[in-house]
Point group: C2
Chain length 195, copies 2
Amino acid sequence: MAATETLTAERILEATEEVLRRHGPAKATVVDVARALGVSHGSVYRHFRTKAALREAVTKRWLDRTSEALDGIAGDGSRDPETRLRDWLAALFTAKRRKAGDDPELFATYSVLAGEQVGAVAEHIDELTEQLTRIVADGVAAGAFHSEDPAVSARAVFQATGRFHDPAYAGEWDRAEADADFAAAVDLLLRGLRA
Amino acid sequence: MAATETLTAERILEATEEVLRRHGPAKATVVDVARALGVSHGSVYRHFRTKAALREAVTKRWLDRTSEALDGIAGDGSRDPETRLRDWLAALFTAKRRKAGDDPELFATYSVLAGEQVGAVAEHIDELTEQLTRIVADGVAAGAFHSEDPAVSARAVFQATGRFHDPAYAGEWDRAEADADFAAAVDLLLRGLRA
DNA sequence: CGAATGACAGATATCAATATCTGTCATTCA
DNA sequence: TGAATGACAGATATTGATATCTGTCATTCG
């Protein structure tokens, strides 16, 4: 029985996600989470020192799902770097667009949380940029790319494609021009990277 | 004497800007503007049909100041396209950064207004993109740039540099890495454009 | 004895009553 | 006669009294 299972951080995070989905970021309370689990809110505070810590943990969890999905593409050293870079960027854009399109309210909720958790987001961006750096470095090693410093180039590529992954632009992702804009951006950046 | 001058749209816009500076976008009212001018609010409605129209006009005015400043660089056909493109992007970044840094509250106010006036902003972006297109087209004509379609490339360059002109990123502009990031972005994009 | 509770103080949010604002228009003023 | 006014209705914002929430901790429970 779910209700008699021991109270773990993981179960609290699941309940928190559910409460956030139902109530939105502004109205989701720790009391709501406790109610959903059938425990007192004091028990939740045993696992998370503050409400902010709980929100941070649930945000990290969400961000990590994106990072993990992309890591496979970044790490696949057997494929040629240009294709890998194109695939990685396309996968990032597609994933974000799907999340935003499938459940706009939950996406908006997590966008608000991400806005609060600047630190967690910075870490997430670092992770993604490291994945990009790996691809660029592989490309340089293979003679396919030119770059003075793969980390700098990767950062530039990530920032230049912000329009296609930053939640601030989510409203533009279903516009008719989005795909053409994305293709033009990737083509221009890859021309810039090629040896 | 100012108080006895005829009431013109221009004078109303000046007063509106002042009221916005003082009260911010949320609390600035048409009544405030009328009070600042020493007239009844009915008189303001003679020149602007709605409060939204007044806000749109004052926003356009603000956006146009940026466009005009950059038009000189874009139109100077005597200088080489690569330098002109670098200068144009640097001028845009510098102008935005200065506005945001010198008077953060007014900048935040206008950012809110820009968020409301989607149409006016779209026109402004079209203008800037046309200026960029002129530079890219000149570069292609001179054999310095490669581009299938200068308008598409210009759009890609503008979007890729969004981090350095979109008010959503204003908070990042005074970070230590901003200049290095900008340089890396411009270098990468110019490598992509060169013939 | 460690996990869970629930009462509590201070901080934050909600709600309904009140005040202000937007947009109109018949009237005044120069 | 055309520009300006100010009273007005409906919509929006402010306020202050009330309810809920956050975070703690002495106590209970298994």
